[in-house]
């Protein structure tokens, strides 16, 4: 059996020290002509400037996509992306979707049963039957 070096890799703990928003870029696609883009066009005109000013960490890219439904695509630091089709939605409904993309971490959705996730060692150590005063049977 070969001797292996101990592998210790640092794990990212976003928020300890600095906090970095995971959403780095948002693509916003609209169509000038189509009716499903009506709410999106209103969103781009009225709400998006304020939202973009309030979130300077995110790069917003607005581009036309003629004769297609409007789409918002969020790009995340971990390389993944999330796309939401916002056809026929009102501007405030689109705002909710955009907030959802901003707050997301970019990870795949999975069911988690334990509320606390920790990479630290147990503070009080692991109980051992061979140490201490022992147990009275």
């Amino acid at each position: 059996m070969t001797v292996k070096a101990l592998q210790t890799l640092t794990t990212g703990r976003n928020g300890v020290g600095a906090f970095i928003l995971q959403c780095k870029k948002m693509d916003i696609h609209y169509c000038d002509w189509a009716g499903s883009s009506k709410g999106m066009n209103g969103f781009i005109k009225s709400i998006l400037p304020k939202f973009a000013a309030a979130n300077p960490q995110i790069e917003f890219v607005v581009s036309p996509r003629p004769s297609k439904h409007p789409v918002v695509i969020g790009h995340y630091i971990n390389g993944r992306e999330k796309a939401i089709c916002v056809r026929n939605l009102e501007p405030l409904q689109i705002l909710k979707k955009v907030e959802l993309l901003r707050d997301a971490s970019g990870e795949k959705l999975r069911k988690v049963n334990k509320p606390v996730q920790s990479v630290n060692e147990s503070v009080r150590g692991v109980w051992s039957p061979y140490h201490g005063n022992g147990m009275a049977v």
Partner: protein, 227 residues
């Protein structure tokens, strides 16, 4: 022409795009960090409890620009005080117990600490750097917000444990958490079916959870508490 005008007006029609007047806002508007934060808060529609940022006293040297930028650097601090009815609020004049005064420095001197914090009555045993997935979406919490968690039932190190009855005095420790975002679970599908009937309905649900990261767990100094 008139149709185009009407259409553009309809597109721009959003009922609450403007902030309510300043006296209706949940927090006083000031220069610097707070006003920008208030503008940011507009995008989340819920009113929230925000700890007032300590205003520096007007210094003799007139340097308003530097003070404003220093304030902008500060994080907005939110106190989580929605379950304050469970304990009597501790006034600063309450003297510390003798055992706490002698043993708290020993607890603080040990390297690792854990805290069992309570959020809406549920306990979470955390150390620094842990992430918590709350079983609900905290209204109004935005990524980057800092919460101060001041309800703890247990504060401990390897050999010492400080047990509260029911909660530890909030002057004895500082626990802060950063809101890292909102996550959700995979879509749940529940099939509703009655016997001897072909009809089925599918019910979909997808819960949202606020994620926190414990950024600071600190045990206070006894001398600082007593002043």
């Amino acid at each position: 022409m008139s149709r185009a005008l009407l259409r553009s007006v309809l597109e721009l029609r959003t009922p609450i795009t403007l902030l309510p007047p300043a006296f209706l806002l949940p927090m006083p508007i000031r220069l610097g960090a707070t006003s920008t934060a208030a503008a940011r808060r507009f995008f989340n529609q819920t009113a929230q409890i925000i700890e007032p940022v300590p205003q520096p006293p007007p210094a003799a040297t007139p340097s308003p620009s530097s003070s404003v930028s220093a304030q902008a650097q500060e994080h907005l601090e939110t106190t989580f005080t929605r379950e304050s009815e469970t304990t009597t609020p501790t006034t600063p004049s309450t003297p510390l117990d003798e055992s706490v005064r002698t043993l708290l420095p020993l607890l603080a001197a040990q390297p690792g600490h854990y805290v069992t914090i309570h959020i809406h009555g549920r306990p979470y045993l955390v150390t620094e750097g842990d992430s918590i997935r709350l079983p609900f979406k905290m209204p109004g919490a935005e990524p980057g917000d800092i919460l101060r968690l001041n309800r703890a039932s247990v504060v401990g190190s390897r050999d010492y444990t400080l047990q509260g009855a029911p909660y530890v005095d909030e002057r004895l420790f500082t626990c802060r958490a950063v809101v890292t975002g909102t996550e959700s679970e995979p879509m749940r599908v529940v099939v509703k079916k009655k016997r001897r009937t072909r009809r089925t309905t599918h019910k979909f649900s997808k819960l949202r959870f606020t994620m926190l990261r414990i950024s600071e767990v600190k045990i206070s100094d006894v001398k600082e508490i007593e002043g």
